[in-house]
């Protein structure tokens, strides 16, 4: 009875937990956040103390050691006589390295006998067998080091900690590029470890001016990123701009290079990406060699390369590996595919709906015959099919493994056939939309593929509304929009508009010549 009464009662169940948040006031109708109050600049924490006990208790408090059991605090006697403490995070730091090169070395009796005043420095120089070790009294740096998987050793009487790189967390090995496959050329791709990614780049760029600047990404999750460039040639103003934008990032969390891309871009409603996101070390390295800047983020298997142009987004690394005639054909096919993908549905709709006089009797008769029983208006039919195509594509991508491919093929065949049988769409429109969809896949960059969909949709609407007039003006406006955009100061249509020096024109590939000039639009120091 009591349970029934509980079920039927209108007021809240007393045991039900509700997390209500009303302190910030009423949210806006369309969402959004109230203006954030400027946080007062936090005082830097006091530096490490010379008392080991105080340092230990501070660290334990900061890391919630009582409940955070994977933070390890290991006391030992350095040289058999001096009290010391190793702190690391279990799983982030390599246990074997700590055992072999810190504890075993440190516990040797008499190993600190020669030490006089500076115990920590002596330990680095004579005791710990670690390739990367430094001293720091900065409390923030000490904590960050622990969080990154490094180990710290604190010694009684020393107000500085020894920070040693003992990172040994598990990560995926270097695999093959999944999204930017090539037939010829290197197959390896970045993984989630920033160190490995930098190494992959260094293996390709073996110049002394290749710089990888490690810095914090500016998020509360304390993630690191690397700004990679060739100091000898990179345009200083480009580098400053990249750093300036990165320094302005102040957000709750950054997970992956996509977040950084959005936080640093200037034109958020422009559909085309303003940086090149690539998972290929060879492609990143090629751009760095040309004077570009790359940003790699910890935990992300891709790099953001800036600046970028439309022609970069339309090229693949394979273009350079193939011989000129082959590379040229690949590019021409790709550009034709992209043009068909964006223009064909709109153009077809405009001519059939508004300018049938432009078509021959045979073509017109075929279209009319195939549409005889279709009940959807012409424009709605095109839009419906475009939507179905996007649906299939999204489903194919999200469904794991080979099931995704099956959904794409079977869905396309069955749905297409069924839609034609049900008189929802005509065969001609189906072919046009399928061709357009196929053209989309010739665009190598994933974000650019999605952007093409926006332009295509806009042109279909314009063509439906006002035929070729709307279509032509739509093309002009889209062209103008792209032409007026810039990626980190470089016009999006360079090297075509503005025309810059290039031995590889945007579409037709030029010869791979023996000269060593960098791309003109990056304005490298070599140009000065």
């Amino acid at each position: 009875m009591g349970k029934l009464a509980d079920l039927l009662r209108f007021d809240h169940n007393e045991e039900e937990f509700e997390l209500l948040e009303t302190e910030q006031g009423e949210p806006g109708f369309f969402g959004g956040y109230p203006e954030e109050k400027k946080a007062k600049a936090a005082k830097p924490p006091p530096p490490a103390s010379s008392s080991l006990k105080i340092n230990e208790s501070r660290l334990k408090a900061d890391f919630y050691a009582e409940i955070n059991t994977d933070v390890l605090f290991r006391r030992f006697l350095l040289g058999g006589r001096i009290e010391a403490l190793v702190v690391c995070i279990n799983g982030m730091a390599s246990g074997q390295q700590i055992n072999d090169f810190i504890l075993r070395q440190g516990m040797r009796p008499g190993c600190m006998d020669g030490a006089k005043d500076e115990l920590a420095l002596y330990a680095i120089e004579h005791v710990f067998a670690q390739q990367e070790a430094k001293l720091s009294g900065d409390w923030g740096e000490i904590k960050t080091a622990i969080l990154q998987g490094q180990s710290i050793v604190m010694i009684e009487g020393e107000n500085q900690a020894v920070i040693m790189d003992t990172r040994g967390f598990e990560h995926r090995g270097v695999g093959t590029a999944e999204n930017e496959k090539v037939v010829r050329g290197p197959q390896e791709s970045f993984n989630e470890s920033i160190r490995t990614n930098v190494t992959l780049l260094r293996r390709i760029i073996q110049t002394e001016d290749f710089v990888c600047e490690f810095q914090k990404a500016g998020a509360k999750n304390n993630i690191s990123l690397v700004v990679a460039y060739r100091a000898g040639i990179v345009n200083q103003s480009l580098l400053d701009e990249v750093k300036k934008r990165l320094s302005k990032v102040d957000t709750r969390m950054i997970i992956g290079e996509g977040t950084i891309e959005q936080l640093t871009e200037r034109h958020s409603i422009f559909p085309l990406p303003q940086v090149l996101c690539t998972e290929r070390p060879d492609r990143t390295a090629a751009h760095i060699m040309q004077g570009h800047v790359a940003v790699l983020v910890e935990g992300s298997p891709a790099a953001n390369v800036m600046p970028v142009t439309l022609f970069t987004l339309m090229s693949t690394s394979e273009d350079a590996y193939m011989r000129r005639p082959l590379g040229m054909i690949l590019r021409v096919v790709r550009y034709l595919g992209a043009i068909i993908s964006i223009l064909l549905p709109g153009y077809f709709l405009a001519t059939c709906l508004h300018h049938p006089g432009m078509l021959s009797t045979e073509v017109l008769t075929t279209i009319i015959a195939s549409r005889q029983m279709v009940f959807l208006p012409f424009g709605a039919e095109v839009l419906f099919l475009l939507w179905v195509f996007q649906l299939l594509r999204e489903a194919g991508i999200r469904v794991p493994g080979s099931a995704g491919q099956a959904i794409g093929i079977i869905g396309g065949l069955i749905l297409g056939q069924a839609a034609v049988s049900a008189n929802m769409v005509s065969t001609v429109v189906l072919i046009v939309v399928a061709l357009s969809g196929l053209g989309t896949f010739t665009i190598p960059d994933y974000s650019t593929q999605i952007s093409a969909g926006y332009f295509r949709l806009g042109l279909v609407f314009a063509a439906w509304l006002s035929g070729l007039l709307g279509f032509a003006l739509g093309v002009l406006i889209i062209g103008g929009w792209i032409a007026s955009q810039k990626s980190y100061g470089v016009p999006f249509l360079a090297p075509v508009s503005p025309k810059t020096y290039t031995d590889r024109p945007g579409i037709l590939r030029g010869r791979v010549t023996s000269h060593s000039r960098a791309t003109d639009y990056t304005n490298t120091r070599e140009d000065v």
């Binding site: 006089g357 032509a472 032409a483 016009p491 508009s497 503005p498 025309k499």
Partner: protein, 381 residues
């Protein structure tokens, strides 16, 4: 490559001015007047381009001598602030008239040949929307788009001329000089207005093309190329129709492509070519609206040109619409500008150039006299 904000390179500048001058010269001519007394339009086009070049070069020379960096500064130097403002507003008005003329002509063409059921108002709204969006993208946006679509205009013109080539007959060019050399010269003079505004516009945006040197070079080349292309188009049109027929045609270039019919799958390419020209015309209108707005902003020392862009686009659209409504005063005004506009634009510029050169030379002489010691002074020394 230069990454400076708001500036464009030589090729983009050349593209935009060439498009403006070619589209104006090929599509906005008054057939009734041009072919009234003969088929010499191709020759008169060359002559008018030549006259426009002379005026332009004179102004550029005067600007160089006076070391002024924009047209408004040059006008101020030559005519004084009050008169310069009046002339600058006149130039701005003439540029706006060019945009109006283009919009009106293409609205009519699209209305007549493609959408006979739709009113001019509806078609014009589409044009205005495109112009407004493009000019708002700024000088870089307009010029870079022009660089991108220049090949489309070239293809659309070459395509039209090639399609019609089966019907070319040289004898249709007769009478070669029309009613005589003087009437042809008269035509040529009035056609100066087809080339000069586009070239003068370049002198207004000198800062946007990295200075006077590029602006002068661009205007000169655009005038030359525009003149040759316009003359070539008129030559082909002249070889296709007799002058009696041409005098009654609204858009000879469109008629030229309408005559072509193939048995293939695309029998009507005229509409497609028309929209190639429409895109160029919109770009040209954007250029005129932008330069007119900038000139106006210079006169009133406005830093933000965007309100002017919106107002000038609306004004151009409104005037184009009124021109279709048959408003008497506007028709008379446009007729007058068509006939005498060249003088209205060229005369103050030439006058200013003459005054500027005179003043600059005099100032140079005075400077030399001051710096060089006289003979008596030398003796004393």
């Amino acid at each position: 490559m230069n990454l400076k904000q708001g500036r464009i390179g030589y090729q983009e500048a050349l593209s935009v001015v060439t498009i403006a001058s070619v589209v104006s010269a090929v599509f906005t001519t008054d057939s009734e007047k041009l072919y009234a007394k003969g088929n010499s339009a191709w020759l008169s086009m060359l002559i008018s381009a030549f006259i426009a070049l002379i005026v332009f070069e004179l102004v550029v020379y005067a600007m160089r001598v006076s070391k002024t960096q924009s047209l408004y500064a040059f006008l101020c130097y030559g005519l004084g602030k009050q008169l310069a403002a009046a002339v600058a507003l006149l130039v701005s008005g003439m540029l706006l008239c060019c945009a109006v003329s283009l919009l009106a002509r293409f609205t009519l063409m699209v209305g007549r040949f493609v959408f006979p059921q739709a009113g001019e108002k509806t078609i014009l709204l589409y044009f205005m929307l495109a112009v407004l969006v493009l000019v708002y993208l700024g000088w870089e946006g307009v010029a870079r788009t022009a660089r991108l679509f220049l090949w489309l205009l070239v293809a659309a013109l070459v395509g039209a001329l090639a399609l019609a080539s089966y019907g070319y007959e040289l004898h249709r060019l007769a009478p070669f000089l029309g009613d005589g050399f003087s009437s042809m010269l008269q035509n040529a003079a009035s056609e100066v207005l087809l080339f000069l505004p586009a070239m003068v516009g370049m002198l207004i945006v000198t800062r946007g093309v990295h200075g006077m040197k590029t602006a002068g070079r661009t205007g000169y080349m655009a005038g030359l190329i525009g003149g040759i292309i316009a003359a070539l188009c008129q030559f082909c049109v002249g070889m296709t129709y007799s002058y009696q027929d041409l005098a009654q045609m609204h858009s000879p270039m469109f008629r030229l492509t309408m005559g072509f019919k193939s048995a293939g799958y695309f029998p009507r390419l005229d509409t497609l070519l028309l929209f190639g020209w429409v895109m160029s015309a919109v770009l040209a209108a954007c250029y005129y609206v932008y330069t007119a707005s900038l000139m106006y902003a210079n006169v009133f020392a406005q830093e933000d040109i965007r309100p002017n862009l919106a107002a000038f686009t609306a004004l151009a659209g409104g005037l184009a619409l009124l021109s279709h409504s048959g408003v008497a005063w506007l028709k008379a005004a446009l007729d007058f500008i068509g006939r005498q506009g060249y003088a209205l634009l060229a005369a103050p510029l030439v006058l200013c150039a003459a005054l500027t050169i005179f003043r600059a030379k005099t100032a140079d002489k005075n400077d030399k006299n001051k710096s060089e010691p006289s003979k008596e002074e030398e003796k004393e020394a």
